[in-house]
């Protein structure tokens, strides 16, 4: 059983602090949900756990079964058992879904135990069917031209194939219609057991109708400001965040305020324009 421990985590992007002391312990077999208004640092937390290149950790620690995660490269984290279903996964033209996932699976295996093509195809086809995805999926390029819902399902497909110890699903429910939500929910639930530790990032209680969670956390201003059980999510679903902000004495729950955000986005846009040249 795996344990992910996050202690006093601080992280910044382009010199701006986004995470301001996050504490969280996630054990295998548990499911936690993180909620919180837009721009409060939820995706940033997920990205930092996975080792996204644009963020810098300035303080605190992340360990997986006692190993220092922050010292690992992104691929080492993945091979150690971490998985992140991204809020907006990248598109990679020219790389087919099946080549990608086969390479990813083999990356975890020793040379003498590499997957046979036959075994791989059988497992892949099964997962595609269970997620009710299109049959042409293996030959399509990774996420290129995928609809929002297709991208989300493709993230779960990868999770099914890679069998992580700790999985973070960032807004896996956004962009899914009701039927798709049910399918994704059932597939994730079927992976649960004594071992898998799940961290769901979501805005809506509805997701928990399909994937049961025992622990609920609320993020504001780059911190977890309140933790509880499902009743906490119920209350937010009914009443929104105002009561909590009032209790906590928070005016603006976002990490960055508007002017700050504009500056960062501005410099980013210029940089992109320069890179394009």
């Amino acid at each position: 059983m795996a344990t992910l421990i996050i202690k006093d985590l601080h992280a910044e992007v382009e010199g701006k602090e986004i995470l301001k002391g996050v504490n969280l312990t996630l054990n295998g077999g548990e499911t936690h949900a993180i909620m919180g208004p837009n721009g409060t640092g939820k995706s940033t937390l997920a990205s930092v756990i996975m080792g996204h290149p644009r963020f810098t950790v300035t303080k605190g620690s992340i360990t997986l079964d006692g190993e220092n995660v922050l010292e690992m490269e992104t691929d080492e984290r993945a091979r150690a058992g971490l998985f992140l279903a991204m809020q907006s996964p990248a598109e990679v033209p020219g790389v087919t879904n099946s080549d990608f996932i086969k390479t990813a699976m083999n990356a975890r295996l020793k040379d003498d135990e590499k997957l046979s093509l036959f075994k791989f195809i059988r497992a892949y086809d099964k997962a595609v069917q269970e997620l009710k995805m299109n049959e042409d999926l293996p030959h399509r390029y990774l996420n290129e031209g995928f609809s929002g819902g297709e991208k989300k399902r493709n993230e779960i497909l990868q999770m099914k194939m890679l069998k992580p110890k700790i999985a973070i699903l960032d807004e896996i429910d956004s962009g899914l219609d009701i039927d798709a939500l049910k399918i994704v929910g059932e597939n994730v639930t079927s992976m649960k057991g004594n071992d898998l530790g799940l961290l769901l990032i979501t805005h809506y209680q509805r997701l928990l109708d399909y994937i049961h969670a025992e622990h609920v956390h609320v993020m504001m201003k780059g911190q977890i400001v309140r933790s509880g059980g499902v009743e906490l999510m119920q209350k937010i679903d009914d009443q929104g965040y105002d009561w909590l902000k009032e209790e906590l004495g928070i005016d603006d729950e976002r990490v960055l305020h508007e002017e700050e955000e504009r500056i960062i986005l501005g410099s980013c846009a210029t940089k992109e324009a320069l890179e394009k040249k």
Partner: protein
């Protein structure tokens, strides 16, 4: 087939090709074509040059004419539509090669030609092709260069595309030579259509210059240029794409895309997309994305456990995908994949 003159590296796929003409140093040493190819005539006699649109091409043509030591002429009859691809293999082992290829598709005919040039000697090579598509003809033309020596390769092609005819042209440059490729397409009839794609992979101290010109001499003509490239070590790779729409050629489309990856600090990759447009009622555009491999793509692949080199390899191999997709032969696709990985 007598394979004694065919280099070992080619044997795995040459054996499997269904319709093939093999030319070694100016002589057709082997040809095997199914019955459906009876509408295609070919021979290795010399024929004259057409008028050239530019001074530069004129000179190249003359030079080629005077040094020419290998020729191939192909002609497809009116309305003959061949579904199976034709493979033409040029092999150059000992001497300089100055190749002249002429291809004429008569009206409403259709053909896929895959040319494969293999050269292993230290000689220079000059290829000149003169290709004509009559009204409503359709040509898929794929040219692969596989040159192991580091000498010079010059390729010039002139395409004359008539009304309603359609050209899909692709070039895969796996050459170690100093390479200059220039494709010049003339859209000479209403609704003529041309797509020209090239992928160049330059390494060591290699210099590769890839030029594609599409000139619109007719209304509603469409030209699309795509350049892909990878430059590593101390190499230089240059893309020059020119879309030129002449006056009154209304409702024409000229577009181009340049995409390149530079590996290491000492390689150079430049794209100079150019649009010369003398008419208002057209659609035109160009884009260039040159730089390192996209950081977020790498992060995504690595987040699934691929190491950095594996992730890079997969993304770079992806550049070849639109080219592989044009080729039916699986063994040939595999050969290309191997060549790409050898060069990186």
């Amino acid at each position: 087939m007598n394979l004694t003159r065919i280099p070992k590296t080619l044997q795995p796929f040459i054996n499997t090709l269904p319709n093939v003409i093999i030319i070694e140093q100016g002589k057709i040493i082997h040809s095997q074509l199914s019955e459906s190819f009876e509408k295609l005539t070919f021979h290795d006699h010399v024929i004259g040059l057409p008028t050239m649109p530019t001074e530069e091409l004129e000179q190249m043509g003359k030079l080629n004419q005077s040094l020419m030591n290998s020729t191939l002429t192909l002609e497809l009859s009116t309305s003959a539509r061949l579904q199976e691809p034709l493979y033409v293999i040029y092999i150059s082992l000992d001497k300089d090669l100055t190749q002249r290829t002429t291809l004429h598709l008569n009206a409403s005919s259709q053909l896929t030609v895959i040319e494969y040039l293999y050269a292993a000697n230290d000689a220079t090579m000059h290829l000149f092709s003169d290709i004509k598509l009559s009204e409503f003809a359709q040509l898929n033309h794929i040219a692969i260069n596989h040159i192991t020596s580091s000498n010079a390769l010059t390729v010039n092609r002139l395409y004359d595309i008539k009304e309603g005819a359609q050209l899909d042209q692709a070039n895969v440059l796996f050459s170690n030579a100093l390479t200059h490729q220039a494709n010049h397409v003339l859209l000479n009839g209403r609704a003529a259509h041309a797509t020209s794609k090239t992928i160049g992979i330059a390494n060591k101290t290699q210099e590769m210059i890839i030029k594609t010109v599409i000139e619109h001499y007719a209304e509603q003509s469409e030209g699309y240029i795509e350049h892909y490239g990878i430059a590593s070590d101390q190499s230089t790779l240059m893309f020059e794409g020119v879309g030129k729409i002449h006056k009154n050629m209304r409702r024409s489309i000229a577009k181009q895309k340049n995409k390149g990856v530079v590996i290491g600090a000492n390689a150079r990759l430049d794209a100079n997309p150019l649009l010369l447009i003398d008419e208002y009622d057209v659609e035109a555009g160009h884009g260039a994305a040159i730089g390192r491999i996209d950081e977020l793509q790498l992060y995504y692949l690595m987040s699934r456990g691929l190491s950095l080199p594996e992730a890079e390899r997969l993304i770079i191999n992806g550049f070849l995908a639109p080219f592989s997709a044009m080729i039916e032969s699986e063994p040939l696709k595999e050969t290309l994949q191997t060549l790409l990985n050898e060069k990186l």
